[in-house]
């Protein structure tokens, strides 16, 4: 088994348009959630989200590229470019064949679907742009990242709702660990902040109208975000040989299925995923200093997640820190685990644990150290990142300082 390290990172979200800006936002405990701005927003009862404001596609891409890139692809390409630049990796023809990309997304090219359904149904047009299909397909982002960076090895997209990114990074980890690939770009992207995207969520009635307050006694639902984060996962010896700066080591991964309910979270599935990641990493729960929670801000998730953490970690649950950065960047759905891995890297590399902001009071069902409102400086050896998706699909990743 090969060791797997992270040697590059890139991101864009409501907290900023680079990995460093996102980490800075998390450290400051900045609120990225604001009023949504897009066509027909006045017909929605949910009017807030972690939207990337002032985003101009033409500042980054040519007209021809934009005709092929849905926003979720654009976000992925921006994050991937940053991650590649950050890693300092040069892909020779030989290395290209051993390099790939696995990305997570839930909605894929949802903006493209929304615009084109509007055009044929509402505007009554009978013709759509010829590139609707290559723009909207879920693998478009992974494919364009592979083309831009000449990644000729394994390339695919994972769609497991809110756990997509964690599942994707778990696959990338397995590919490098097994020796199938030397280098994998991995993470996820999402761009669901459009009329149809939010209208669908509104129907489920789990969205908050006034803010994302994970673990807080007065939490009343989730708030969506958008963006992407992408990392370079590299085989350890390869990274050392080229003198790469290592951000963290990926040491364990596990995935489980609740096999119980399509939307309600299940303590046992979450518990088995966390326990599995610890076992895979060969560490005891006591080694974990920080958990980046799934922490959606819904009543059911946060209560279930805290109960699962108590059962997995026992007395150590009162020693570790657990925070939900969704309070700042919103829930990026299929891209969320990727942005949240930044929080884990910041914890193990920089010793800065991001807070759960907008925290307004203790819920007895969530009585863990949720790092309320203000980030904390402390040494963290191991951090885990939780993702528990609709459909009962759970994925937990563990990383360690190097």
């Amino acid at each position: 088994m090969k060791r797997v390290v992270i040697t590059g990172q890139g991101a864009i979200s409501a907290l900023g348009s680079s990995a460093a800006a996102n980490m800075e936002g998390m450290r400051e405990g900045r609120l990225g959630i604001s009023s949504l701005e897009f066509q027909d927003v006045e017909r929605l009862s949910i009017a807030i989200g972690g939207q990337i404001k002032g985003y101009d596609p033409e500042a980054h891409f040519s007209r021809q590229e934009i005709t092929l890139y849905d926003k979720f692809t654009q976000f992925a390409l921006l994050a991937a470019q940053e991650a590649m630049d950050h890693s300092g990796l040069e892909l020779t023809e030989e290395l290209s064949a051993q390099a790939g990309v696995v990305l997570g997304t839930a909605g894929g090219g949802l903006q493209t679907q929304d615009e084109n359904y509007r055009s044929v149904y509402e505007a009554g047009k009978n013709r759509v742009h010829p590139f609707v299909v290559p723009r909207l397909m879920n693998n478009a982002a992974a494919s364009h990242v592979s083309m831009t960076h000449n990644l000729q090895g394994p390339a695919f997209t994972v769609a497991t709702a809110c756990a997509s990114s964690n599942h994707a990074m778990g696959q990338a980890y397995a590919l490098v660990r097994s020796g199938m690939s030397k280098v994998m770009l991995t993470g996820g992207s999402e761009s669901m902040l459009c009329f149809g995207g939010i209208k669908a969520w509104e129907g489920l009635r789990v969205m908050s109208k006034d803010g994302c307050r994970p673990f807080s006694v007065n939490r009343n639902g989730m708030v969506q975000g958008e963006g992407a984060a992408i990392f370079v996962f590299e085989e350890y010896e390869h990274a050392c040989a080229r003198g790469a700066a290592i951000l963290a080591e990926v040491i364990g991964f596990a995935m489980t299925s609740d096999a119980s309910d399509i939307v309600m979270p299940n303590k046992h599935g979450a518990k088995r995923a966390m326990t599995g990641a610890l076992q895979d990493a060969g560490i005891s729960g006591d080694a974990v200093g920080y958990i980046n929670a799934h922490g959606t801000g819904t009543t059911a998730n946060d209560r279930t997640e805290c109960a699962a953490v108590r059962e997995v970690f026992g007395a150590h649950a009162d020693e570790l820190m657990i925070s939900s950065t969704k309070s700042m960047h919103g829930h990026l759905i299929g891209g969320t685990g990727a942005v949240e891995l930044l929080a884990c890297i910041m914890a193990v590399r920089d010793g800065i644990v991001p807070p759960t902001i907008s925290y307004e009071g203790i819920d007895p069902d969530c009585d863990l150290d949720v790092v309320p409102n203000v980030s904390r400086e402390t040494k963290v050896d191991v951090a885990i990142s939780n993702a528990f998706a609709f459909g009962g699909l759970n994925a937990v990743l563990a990383i360690r300082a190097v």
Binding site: G203, L204, R205, V206, S208, R219, N220, G221, I262, V263, M264, T298, T299, A300
Partner: protein, 88 residues
Amino acid sequence: MSASVKDQMIAIIAEQAVIDPSEVKDEATLEDLGIDSLGLVEAVFAIEETFDIQVPFNANDPAQSEFDITNVASMIRAVEGLVAAGKH
């Protein structure tokens, strides 16, 4: 009018519970009827579509919503109120 709201409500609840409308009793709770959280969200949607009203219901914490889901009678009363308010 009020009777008609009641009949339509019972029809919506019966459909979710997959039982005959005659079996929907006033004092029955959602649990008695075997309607889970997803069934309730679907029922609220059917109520809003049928009566063209907005039901103040948050699936995160149904007990904290203004929409009283204690039992069949309380839900019918709440919807009658919302329908009446909508007529003004």
